[in-house]
Symmetry: C2
Subunit: 125 residues, 2 copies
């Protein structure tokens, strides 16, 4: 069961011309689906890598009415302020509502983990 008001979450990574680039996102997706199954969560890419957001939406079952898009990005720039909202607007339907969430880099746990990762390189005070 999903928390909050969504039927499904699409994890959206940037995409890259480098085929090896998507491995960590696929690994994250595999780890999550091992616990939660594949019904409630998909993985898609904004550009240059498939499946696209459009592909992921096309694969959704007809019972899905409300989808959250969780960007696997560290910060909000042009892509999350313009490109992804434009993609999402084009995919909205009367029977399917998509909501863009803040990027995963904005999550307090992730921010804290990055601080600790940097601190681990810097050593003890």
């Amino acid at each position: 069961m999903l928390r909050k008001e969504y039927d499904h979450i699409i994890l959206l990574a940037h995409g890259s011309p480098d085929p090896l680039w998507k491995q960590p996102f696929e690994a994250l997706y595999a780890q999550v689906t091992q616990t939660y199954g594949e019904n409630n969560v998909s993985l898609a890419y904004m550009e240059m890598t498939t499946p696209s957001l459009e592909d992921a939406v096309a694969m959704l079952g007809s019972t899905v009415k409300s989808v959250a898009v969780l960007p696997l990005f560290l910060a909000v720039g042009r892509h999350l302020r313009h490109d992804v909202p434009t993609q999402i607007t084009a995919l909205q339907r009367e029977d399917l509502h998509l909501t863009l969430l803040p990027p995963i880099g904005d999550d307090e746990l992730v921010k804290k983990a990055m601080e600790t990762a940097v601190a681990n390189h810097l050593g003890k005070v």
Copy 2:
């Protein structure tokens, strides 16, 4: 004191045409320097945003001989396989050695935090 063999660490983020994009990286840097000071760690950007990696290297004190570059990226693609190594090669000097570390997204703590962040959206099993 830095752990391991480096005198200094440069945190290297991607860069963006969107001036607001760098805020989370500046916040991470501010948080880290609050504990460790600004002597051992810098923040730089690969493209489109200043300071560049070249700027950050130019600011280093003359006692710094060995620098680690820690990419604030989630995955290794064209940028970390080609563009950043090219920048680093151009900045190597006889008296200054730069080492490219794996990206912060590869850190086990960060990977685990991203899994938990996604799981928190998906809810209880």
